[in-house]
Every structure is written in structure tokens, then in C-alpha cells.
Amino acid sequence: MSGHEIAIPMRAKFFTTGTKVLLLIALAGIATYVYRFFVGLGAVTNLDNQYPWGLWISIDVASGVALAAGGFTTAAIADIFHKDKYHVITRPALLTALLGYTFVVIGLLADLGRWYNVWHPMLPNMWQGNSALFEVGMCVMVYLTVLYIEFVPIVVERFKGRVNLPGALAGLNKLIEGLLNLADKTLVRFTSLFIIAGVVLSCLHQSSLGTLMIIAPTKVHALWGTTISPLLFLMSAIAVGFPMVIFESILASRSFKLKPEVNVLSSLARYTPFLLGAYLAFKIGDITIREIWPLVFTFDKYSTMWLIEMIFGVIVPMIILAIPKYRKKVAGLFTAASLVIAGVALNRIDAYLVAYKPLYVDHAYFPSIFEITVTAGLIATLVLVYRAIVMIFPIISVPVDEAEKIKNGTHEKINFARWK
């Protein structure tokens, strides 16, 4: 940890107008989610034999995994390349990844017809090394475990020597204390091994998500269906990592009335134009080599989506972040980060949904109200859980001299309006 910042649990009222709205959305989502398991996929989704994958796979799973990339990219820069000033954001990034992947799995369960068999890929007699989906499944499962292990030190820091369960549970105090001590002596010592494993696993499944759709070359529009799709998926995941951390750090500061970490965030944002630029170069190179530029300018559904993705998701944020004047302002950072995030999410929706062309179609797919409710509900729940966790665990870093005041609730509340 760098000397001037310390991670502490946030102090605030959990329920604000915003969180109450989120809670309503979350409850609606959870209710629909539960309902789905009683009535089956047909009753709640608009999926059919023409469109076997819809909103849940393209947003909850594909976009979810991409947007959780902040975890491994931040771990790489802070812990592997030892850029210590970024340590203040490794914990929020870790938490985003951990919750992101947890919700990917929760979302995926709803989409699986036989969700209770979700563990089957672990059985050696069912291993299927030819399937990109098998690799994604295995990597996500292992990576999720790694993320929880990486979180252990934070739990240890928070509760070691302080376990004090009330009433009937008091008998467990000793046991839990013992477990925390054990974890401290074992897992915590080897965190770096897990961090590297996390980066490797991420590279593997982020790219494999790009392999999935190209197994059906005649059913995927050429703008997205390319053999280098796995590389493009990996590059865009790496590019969206830091913007995701920036986006979420600014929102957290706003919500807890803290001073945003503009310095750290804008120096993190320096990398983004290069990462986006590399992605853009490969995209353009691929289109050029395959000689499909005419498809880009037909201005049909496909070319329009592709152009939106590239212009607003890649080129505009690249320019904003390349200009120091904008990069050093909260507004510039936030706008650019949001654009990159929307761009990558749109790319996943395009690759999985828009670009998918069934051979025989009698109607277009549009998600049902239930599908939308579940997706919105999952996102709302994620935000609420995130908020709860940063209020319980030391995740968000603040200057040491502020920390004491925040604990007492006497710190200066910074207003969003004064950020400029």
C-alpha cells in the first residue's frame, strides 16, 4: 500500500432515493428470475429455434465478462508491472470483477435449460476440448474461485481479531477466527500466484468468447465473423478494463461524496488511447485484408451498428483521452469511459445477436419484457451488493488524514457540482 492512502469501509446511509429505485428494479428482476425456474424458458423469453441465444447471453454473459475485465487489467498493471500508485484502485477493480463474474454465472443459470447440470463440464468423462464454450466455462469457474481467493486478504484485514458474532452464533467466533488466521498464513502469502493465474485465465476466456460465434461462419455477418475474432475480443476486453475502473470509481466518489482520484484515474486513462488504437488498427486491418470495406458503408442495420461501435465506442473516446486537457477533468474522463464501456457492450451485443443471421427466419428477435426485467434486475442487484460491500469491507481508499474523519462521519462532504 502506498503511504498516503488507506482503504476503509465507507460510511453513508445505505438507502437513498437512488438505491430505493434500484431496489425496486432488483426485486422485480429477482421475482422474474425465480418465476423462470418454475415455468421454463419458453414462457418468459422470446427465444426459439431461430434465435437460441438472446439478451441474457449477449448482455448478462458476453458483455458482463468483458466489462469485468477491469479486474485483471488493473491487477496486471499494479501487481505485475508494479505501478504502485494504482494500488488504490486494485480493490475496487477486484470487487467489480468478482461481482461481475458472480452475476455472469447467476445470469447464465437462468439461460441454461438444465441449469442443475451446470457443473457437468467439470467431470472428466464430459470434457470436450474441441468446444470453445467448454474452455470459457472452465476458465470462468476457475477464475471466479481465484477472484474469491484474491478477496480473502480483504476479509482477513477487516475481521481478523475482531470476530464477534452476537448471541447464539457466538460459539462460532473461535472457529471463524481460526479460519481467518489460517487463511492469513496460507492464501494471503501466495496472493501473487493467484493474481498471475487470474491474468492468464482472463486472457484465455476473454478471447474464447470471441471464438464461440465463428463456428457458424454462414450464420454470422462478415463484419463480425472473422477468424481473428478471439484476438479482437481480447484486445477490446483489455481496452475496456481501465475505463470500467474509472467509470465506477467516479460513481463511487460521487455516491459517497468523496474527492475523485482524478490524478490516478487520468494517468490510468493515458493507456486507453493506445489500447483502443491497437484494437482499432486490428479491426481496420482485418476489414482491409478480407476486402469487405463495401459492407461498412452499405448503411444497413449491420453497417450502422458497426459504425456506431467504432466511432462512438472507439474513436471519440480515444480522442478525448488523448487530449490532456480533457483527460485531467472528471467530466472528460467520465464521458470517455462511458463511451468505451457502451462501445464494448454494443460490440458483444452485435457479435452475439445483431450479426447472427438464422438461415430460415419468419420473425425478428426482440427480448421479452421478462428478459429485460431479469437483465435490469441483475444489474441493479449488482450495484446494491457492491454498495453494501464497500460499506462493510475496506475497498475504497482515501487519504490517511481523511480516514479518521470519514469513520466519524465528520469529513467534508464533497458535492458533485464542485468537482469541475
Binding site: 421454463g40 438444465r114 464430459m126 457458424a216 447472427y356 438461415l359
Partner: protein
């Protein structure tokens, strides 16, 4: 200055490592069984009687609709596709060469030689048997429906209305009857017009080509399924360019030949992932050393 360069080196190391791991190596095609079975569908002689639909329906206990409901020809106005309760359907098409006389075509799973559905399945619930049929094991299935995404012929159907144990449904080439009991597939057995010929795939291809040769003007000179997506166990003869029928123009590219080399390249004996792990470990160590030095000289 030097700091900036290091940032770049680090990123370059990461991305080049994945470039290497992403590099494709060719996967070997599975050994071809010369005795593998197939069916030749001759759409020039199919009368569109739909008896095959009925036989399939009865054999697989799909619905309890009586024979008479299958004699209804108005269904030809719809464009039906195989579904959970109809593994095969007969549709009509018009050959531009002879617009007066509509033809009929029976469609079902093609039982591809390199089936994308099998390659896609996350748990190996779908299997290409050496005898030819592509069969499904519901017990393994997790219901992800990636097989449906992958199939180049849009064949597998899903039981979306099943809440507890939905299954992927498609023609099984009557695996039990054909391989275990040595019988004909139900549709082939009932076909009154010899529109369906069951046999060794190799021989069927010869038969198909000689029919084309011996009946000039009757067939379009192409055995559909001989090379499509790497070859299929079910083969078609058509009186007109197959593009005028509902057979899709899928080309000869094999879907799994795109994805499997990538998968195998990435996991070649686990070397690429381990190499990346080692590289990152080295970087971690290296950069830590440099940082310590920097701190000392400060």
C-alpha cells in the same frame, strides 16, 4: 522517459504472448469410416406424400396424431422447419425449369461428417457415431443451446416449454433401429416412391452420380452433401439448382475447422498458458527488482 518505455514493453509482452497462444495449428480430421451409413434423398421422384413424416412421428412417439392428419397437403403453403415434435418435414418447391409441377423435399438433420453441433457441445452430449448417426444424450446436456447456434442447417430444436428437463430434439437417423437392430430408418422403410435410399455413404455417392449421368435433364449436376460443410451422411439429388430448393448454400467450409485449431493452439499441451504464466511471473519479479532499486537510489 524510461518509465514510459517500460509500460509499453509490458503491454507488448502481454499482447504478443496472446498472439502466439492464439495462433492456429491444423487439427486432424477424424478417421473416416468407409462403412459409414447414409441416405440419398431423390427429390426428383419424391411425391410429397408425407408418409415419412408420419412414420417418424410414430417411431419417435412425437405426437399421437393419426395418419390422416399427415395427408393434408395445405401445409405446403407454410414453410415448415423440423421442430421438437417433427424431426422431419416435407416442403414444396418450384423448379424454374418446370414451374407447372411442384416438387417436394424432405428435410431433417444431415448427420454431418464434421458436425458443428458435436464440436460445439460443451459436455459432449452430442456424438458422431462411427456408423454415421449424430446422436444426443439428454442426461449430459446442460441446455446451453450452443449446438443450435452452431448447426449450419438450423436443425436442432429445443423444448422451450419444458420447465424442468428440456431436451434438444432432432432426427437421430433412427440410431436404435439402424445400428442396434439392423433395420431401415422409419422414413426410408415407409417411402413408397424410392425417394429415399439407405446404404453405405460411399456407394450412395456413386449411385447419385450415375443417376445424374443416366438420366440427362432429370437432375442438376450436383450431389448436395458430398462436400457441403465437409460432407454429410444424408445426400440430396435435386431436379434444379439446389439454391432453388430450401437446401441452404452453406459452402464447403467446415465450421469446426475454424474454431478447433484455435482451441487446440491455445491449449497445445498447456504450453501457451503456462508460458504466459511464466512470462508474467518473470515480469512481476523483474519490475519488482527495478522498483526496489529505484527506491534505494532515491
Amino acid at each position: 522517459m524510461s518509465l514510459k518505455r517500460r509500460d509499453f514493453l509490458g503491454i507488448a509482452a502481454l499482447s504478443s504472448a496472446t498472439l502466439v497462444t492464439g495462433k492456429a495449428t491444423a487439427s486432424e480430421a477424424p478417421a473416416h469410416n468407409p462403412d459409414a451409413l447414409g441416405v440419398l434423398v431423390d427429390t426428383a421422384v419424391c411425391s410429397g406424400c408425407r408418409k415419412c413424416e408420419w412414420a417418424c412421428n410414430r417411431t419417435h412417439e412425437l405426437t399421437d396424431r393419426p395418419m390422416s392428419t399427415f395427408e393434408d397437403k395445405t401445409v405446403f403453403e407454410l414453410h415448415r422447419r423440423p421442430d421438437r415434435d417433427a424431426f422431419t418435414v416435407v416442403n414444396q418447391f418450384i423448379a424454374p425449369e418446370n414451374p407447372e409441377k411442384p416438387y417436394a423435399i424432405k428435410v431433417q438433420c444431415m448427420h454431418c461428417l464434421r458436425p458443428a453441433c458435436v464440436s460445439a457441445c460443451i459436455v459432449g452430449a452430442l456424438e458422431k457415431t462411427p456408423e454415421g448417426p449424430v446422436i444426443y444424450d439428454a442426461w449430459k446436456c446442460i441446455g446451453c443451446r450452443y449446438c443450435i447456434v452452431a448447426c449450419p442447417f438450423q436443425i436442432p430444436a429445443y423444448e422451450y416449454d419444458e420447465a424442468l428437463a428440456p431436451e434438444v430434439k432432432k432426427c437421430s437417423f433412427c440410431y436404435e433401429r439402424v445400428v442396434k437392430e439392423g433395420k431401415l430408418p422409419a422414413c426410408t422403410e415407409i417411402c413408397p416412391n424410392e425417394a429415399l435410399t439407405f446404404g453405405r455413404r460411399d456407394e450412395l455417392i456413386d449411385i447419385a452420380h450415375s443417376r445424374i449421368k443416366n438420366h440427362p435433364g432429370m437432375y442438376y449436376d450436383h450431389v448436395y452433401g458430398e462436400h457441403e460443410v465437409g460432407g454429410t451422411s444424408w445426400l440430396y439429388l435435386t431436379p434444379t439448382d439446389f439454391k432453388n430448393t430450401e437446401l441452404p448454400d452453406v459452402g464447403t467450409e467446415v465450421g469446426p475447422d475454424i474454431t478447433e485449431p484455435i482451441q487446440h493452439g491455445v491449449f497445445k499441451a498447456f504450453v501457451p498458458p503456462l508460458a504466459l504464466y511464466g512470462l508474467l511471473g518473470l515480469a512481476m519479479h523483474q519490475f519488482k527488482g527495478e522498483k526496489d532499486k529505484a527506491e534505494e537510489t532515491e
